[in-house]
Each structure stands twice: as structure tokens, then as C-alpha cells.
Subunit: 413 residues, 2 copies
């Protein structure tokens, strides 16, 4: 089967909707059916939008951020917000909770699901951990997990519980407290600490084990963590492609290796460039530092093609429940031209191409349909929330599972 | 501290030996003290010697193998014998047990400890596994482990219980039954199967988890296996250096990463070349196939230097209990000039250099010493078995632990 056929198979329902009004079938009536949202999580980080949500910008910068927010909300329904400990709580006891609560609520009000990233990581750590003993670091890490998961409960129920645990105990690029405790306790104990502490604070939390390491190392870690009985909700696979698009074959082989654990998969950090690629000999992407990394017309055409191929590949695989683009706009991590939108705010071809899938090929615009004598109408649609309307009255329904779906909807009045 | 100082610290005892004769101190007497063996396991594979031990060769070939055996026994006290399943039992039910028993006994009679390699591996598998179901493969693998460990008990109590489990479930270079069950069961369950089956068959077995993968993947596997409660006696680290000597820094950093699990470490497959190096871009060493790979004078000088540096680095680390050279003679795996001995049977400089350590710098030749008025003599020696003799009478003693040792030895008669 082609990717398009697999996407239809795994992501759509064949709905038979019986429309009722006043308890009776609404027969032979022209109604309008419209999709309201996707079940699939089309994500991006939303770090930029924290300032907008908090009214911290004015004038031209505000106008720019408002445009960005519109572009963001047109395409995405799943946001990653930053909880890097060293920036969230640079001074011990003064966490940035209020600003992040405002941002999370701003997103939730706009129908966006929010993930916090990350609760435990060895990079971007507060300096004040360094003089502490291992016992004190462990307690501080657990207290910080408890605090964030509790404070944001209901607004943020999805968390990268731990990030990059594969290299955590051997990370050598700068001293930090988390590498110290992970080296002392081992990876599995550290993963367990992060998951169990988060779970205690929010039994309904959806918790990810997130890593950039797509080698057998991450497989071995996952097997050890599962052996240890840690309850993982999803695997997070980073897929920064600064050195070039993986292509369908490599992507599918990676999904295949990680899907066999029977866990949901999130592609958590997708990057595709619209400029020159990072040289292949770079091992730690952070080692590639440039002053300027321009987007180019040829690069933008390539990126648009690759974005479409990448998203089609991901949606063709039923284990994948979310994919997060990193980031919407150029000028983010490493100054790479990874955005779907240029620095001047204009959308690149990749933005239009992805929008053409998410709100085009994979979307049902408001569509007139006519019910039959039993009040039934049939259509095939991508999983998500829908609305049926008849003049001024409307009712919602959901396509929650792939395959045949038989649904009754009652219009009010 | 230098490597030499660390070796003295970790590998020698300061012995005070009281020599008795007829229950009384043998005072002011000139005796001879001689080392008989090393506690440290200086190993090599002994695949060649199976034919010699079994009297399968005659004439010139026999003479050549006898020379090789002399060279082998002068340097090594620890042999690896081949138990590759596909060669050991190419026809189901007709294992090569008798020949290997003869070889193991031949080695044991010469004071050599023997390790069997390996009980479970995905490479060199018998073809007859392929048509079997996973359940049947699993049972066949367990039965084979039980059989070998039981048949060789007492002669071979050390086994590579499982080899290269990191890549086992994703190994793609040829279909094989073991990858199938490892993919179905997971790495940890497969490791547990190998260890528990071997342990049931010989509760005194010393069992290794052996791998070539020195990356974080092997660390993650080890942590998972320990989390799963599998009783591992030692980690086996392969160190084929066909692409060049690792150097002290890399070697120490690898030892440091794996020593933190508190398990004994064996360097199980050490290879240093005396010819050109394999190009760095080769990932699977098996992909480098050449007709001829000559040893060169410059390469032999480099190899001798590297062998000394490598062995000194390994012995300076207290976690390391064994190191196995792969192989004694040129023309082995990949035809690489990895031997310490040339194809014509003449020793290379590396052989002489290593012998100069093992039976020279780290060895006590028969040495005259004089006891004091209390019958005591003192010396510092490498851990192992010793003999003190006075004319025709002699007695053995052991330096078993580093540091100060107070020993009484009774001469007969």
C-alpha cells in the first residue's frame, strides 16, 4: 500500500451519521458537516508565544508575534512549552510558574493541547545545583517535578518526564547535577524517579521517555526500563534532521524498531532545513556554530517536498500519535533555517504544503450533505471532532476510532 | 601515578614468608623462590590447538603446530575454545563434543584455564534452526546450552553465556534463528535465558556478558540486565583494533564507564595489527575483505609498542581480571596481520615484548633468597602461585591478594 492508502486506513473513519431533531430522524435534509479538530496531534514548540500570551510585547514586535500566533494556530493543535530547569528557576525558589500558566491557559483556550518539556534533563540546569550533595540534588529534582506537575495539572497533563537518558550519566559537555545523580543511581533508577514522581503528582499524566538517540542504545534503555516496570505512556523520538532528511526507508525502519514495544510514539522534535545542510561529520549538532544560516529558494523547495514526505510517512504508521515541528519560525536552535516561516514572517512553501495536508487533504471543510429517508448521511473523515449544522442549530460528534462508525447526533430545538 | 606504579599497586603482594621445616623455622638458609603462574588471566584463543590436541595432523604441519603450542603455552594461561553452534553442531544431534573435550583436557593438563565461546550468538548459526518455530528454536538453544555446560563441567567452567546481545534482535546480515527469538522475547529475556540455563547446568560456572559495542548501548543493556536481576559474573569487552590502537585515554575512559557496575571485566578479543590499518569508514569490520594483508617491519614495530602500552593500561585497572589476545598467529579473522607470530611461525617483536612483561617484568624467575633468624624472607611479587625450594624439597604457596601478605610454608621432610 502507498503511504496515502495507509494514512486513509489508519487515520480515517467511515462514518454513518443518523441526524435526529426532536427525537426523530431528520430525513431528506440538506445539512452541513464540518471538521473542527484533528485527533492526531500536529504539534510545534510554542516558546515564542509565551511573551505574547503574557502581554510582554508591544508595537511592531507584538504585531509580528500576533501574525506568528495566527500561523501557528492555523496549522497546529499541540504545543510544547519550555520547562528547562535552568531557565525556569535560575534563582532557587523563584520559578517562572505564573508566566507559563498564563501561556498554557492561552493555548488551552484556543483548543491546543500542551506538553511540558522536560521535567528531568542534564542540559540547561540551574547553577545552584552544583554545590549540592547528590542526596540534595535528588530531592531538589523530585520537588521540582512535583511542583510543576501539580501546578499545571489540568492545563498540562503531558510531559517529557525525562530527556536524553541514554547519554545522561556519561554527558561530558559541562558539569551538571543531573549527570552526577544519574551516574550514581543508574539510568533506570533515574527514569523511574522521574516517572514515578510525576505520576504521584498527577495520576492522569501522559508521560514520555524522550531521546535523540535512535541507535540500539535507546532500544536497550527502553527494554531495561520496561523490565523495571516503569509505566511509560509514549516514546518520544527526536528527529532533528539538520544533516539532511532521513528519507522514507530510514524513517520507517526506525519506527519499526521502536514500535515493537507496543507503546505510542511521538516524533517530538522534527527539523527539516531550507538552507545548506550541516556537514555529516558533526556528531554533536551543538558543535556546529555559524553566524548566519540563510534560507534559500532551492532549499525551500526541497524542504516543502521533504515536509510532505516526512508527515505522510509518519501518519502512515499507526503507532505514531503525535509529531512536533521544531520550530515554526527560522532563527531558533543553532540559527538553522528550520522554520516553516521566514524571519520576516512570510510563510515558506513548506508551511503552505503542510497546511495543504492538515487543513486540506486530511480535513473536511464545511460540506453540504443530504440525509436519506432515515436521517442518515455517510462520509469518510479523518479522526477528530466534527459538527453537523442545519441553519442556526448545530451539534458536535466525534470520529474516535478508525474503521466503520455508527453515530447518532441530536440537533437541538 | 604511572601505569607501572598502578600495576604494582593492584597486581602485587608484599609477601613475608616464614619457611618451616619439621615444624621449626628454617633460619638463615639460602632457598630459591620461583613464580609458577599468574593469577591474572593472560589469554588467547586456542582454536588452532584443537587439531594438535586431537592428533589430527602429522609431518610438517604437526611440527608447525607444536612450535605454535610452545609459543602459546610460554605466554598464556587462559584459552578460548570455539563453540560456535553452526560449526559445533552443523548436523542436528551430532555435536563436536569429543574433539573439544580432548582439546580442553589437553589445555587443562598444561595448567591452562579454558573459556567456551559462545553459548548464544546470532552469527555462525546452524541452518537447521531456520525452519523451526520460535518455540522450537528457544528450546533447541536451551538444550544446547545445557548440553555443553554439563558435558564440559569441571574442564570448562567459564563461558561467554551470550555474545553481542546489543545488536542481536536487529542484526540484518543474514537470516538466523537467534535474532528471531531475541526480537520476539527482547534482549533482557534472551540474556536471562542464556545465563539461567547455563547456571542451572553448572552452579559454579563463571558467566560473561560479551559485546563488541562499547557505546552507551552496552551500558544501557547492562543496566537493564542488572535491573532484571540476572547474575552476571563478568562483562566481556571485545577490543578488535583493526582500525588502529585506541590509545590509553580512550581505553581508560571505556574501562571507567564499564567498571562502574562493580563487575569484573574481561577484555575478551584484543587485536592489534602489524600491517596497514582498516580504513576508518568501515562500520562492520566483516565488510573489509582483502586477498592479502601483509605484516610489515614498520607495522611490527608499531604493534610491539602498542601491545605493551595496551597491556600496561589494562593491568593498571583493578577491575580487569583477564585479557585475551585474538589470535596468536597471523592469518586468522579477516586475514589481518593481527598475530604476535608470523605465518612462518617466527615470533614478531610484539610477541617478545609481551613475553618480556608476562614472564619478565611481571614475573619472578627462580631467585635465591636467604631466610632470617626467624626463617622469614620478604619479597614483592605478582599475584599467582609460587614455590619455595631448598635443594630437593619444595613447597607451594600463593599470593592471592594485593598488599601485605604473611604466609607460612612448610618444607617436607
Amino acid at each position: 500500500m502507498t503511504a496515502d492508502q495507509l494514512i486513509r486506513q489508519h487515520r480515517t473513519a467511515d462514518a454513518t451519521v443518523t441526524v435526529l431533531a426532536g427525537g426523530l430522524p431528520l430525513a431528506n435534509r440538506r445539512v452541513t458537516v464540518a471538521q473542527r479538530s484533528h485527533k492526531f496531534l500536529f504539534g510545534a514548540n510554542a516558546f515564542d508565544l509565551v511573551r505574547l500570551a503574557n502581554d510582554e510585547v508591544a508595537g511592531e514586535e507584538r504585531a509580528k508575534l500576533e501574525t506568528r500566533a495566527e500561523q501557528w494556530l492555523a496549522l497546529f493543535n499541540f504545543a510544547t512549552l519550555p520547562f528547562y530547569w535552568g531557565r525556569f528557576e535560575p534563582e532557587r525558589g523563584r520559578p517562572d510558574t505564573r508566566r507559563l500558566l498564563v501561556a498554557a491557559r492561552w493555548l488551552a483556550d484556543r483548543g491546543v493541547a500542551v506538553k511540558g518539556h522536560p521535567l528531568c534533563w542534564h542540559t540547561v540546569q540551574p547553577d545552584w545545583l552544583l554545590p549540592l550533595s547528590n542526596d540534595e540534588i535528588r530531592e531538589a529534582q523530585k520537588a521540582r517535578i512535583r511542583r510543576e506537575v501539580t501546578d499545571f495539572r489540568g492545563l498540562i497533563d503531558t510531559w517529557d518526564a525525562i530527556n536524553e537518558a541514554v547519554i545522561m550519566p556519561v554527558f561530558a559537555n559541562g558539569e551538571n547535577g543531573i549527570t552526577r545523580i544519574c551516574r550514581a543511581d543508574g539510568r533506570i533508577a533515574t527514569v523511574r524517579m522521574a516517572f514515578e514522581t510525576a505520576r504521584e503528582s498527577n495520576p492522569h499524566a501522559f508521560l514520555l521517555l524522550n531521546d535523540f538517540d535512535m541507535s540500539t542504545a535507546f532500544e536497550c534503555l527502553i527494554e531495561g526500563v520496561l523490565e523495571g516496570g516503569v509505566a511509560i505512556d509514549a516514546l518520544g523520538l527526536q528527529s532533528h534532521m539538520h544533516q539532511g532528511y532521513w528519507g522514507e526507508e530510514k524513517t520507517l525502519s526506525i519506527v519499526d524498531r521502536f514500535a515493537r514495544y507496543g507503546l505510542a510514539i511521538h516524533f517530538t522534535e522534527n527539523t527539516l532545513l531550507s538552507g545548506h545542510l550541516m556537514p555529516p561529520e558533526i556528531v554533536d549538532l551543538n558543535d556546529y556554530q555559524v553566524d548566519d544560516w540563510p534560507t534559500t529558494p532551492a532549499g525551500e523547495a526541497r524542504q516543502a517536498d521533504e515536509v510532505v514526505r516526512h508527515y505522510k510517512t509518519l501518519l502512515s504508521q499507526p503507532s505514531i500519535e503525535a509529531t512536533t515541528y521544531w520550530d515554526l519560525t527560522d532563527g531558533g536552535w543553532l540559527k538553522a533555517p528550520a522554520g516553516l516561516v521566514r524571519l520576516d514572517g512570510s510563510p515558506k512553501p513548506a508551511y503552505e504544503a503542510l497546511l495543504g495536508l492538515v487543513k486540506g487533504e486530511w480535513w473536511l471543510e464545511p460540506t453540504p450533505m443530504v440525509t436519506d429517508a432515515q436521517g442518515k448521511l455517510s462520509f469518510s473523515g479523518f479522526l477528530g471532532d466534527y459538527e453537523v449544522s442545519d441553519g442556526g442549530r448545530a451539534a458536535d460528534f466525534q470520529l474516535a476510532q478508525k474503521g466503520p462508525a455508527f453515530i447518532e447526533v441530536s440537533l437541538p430545538g
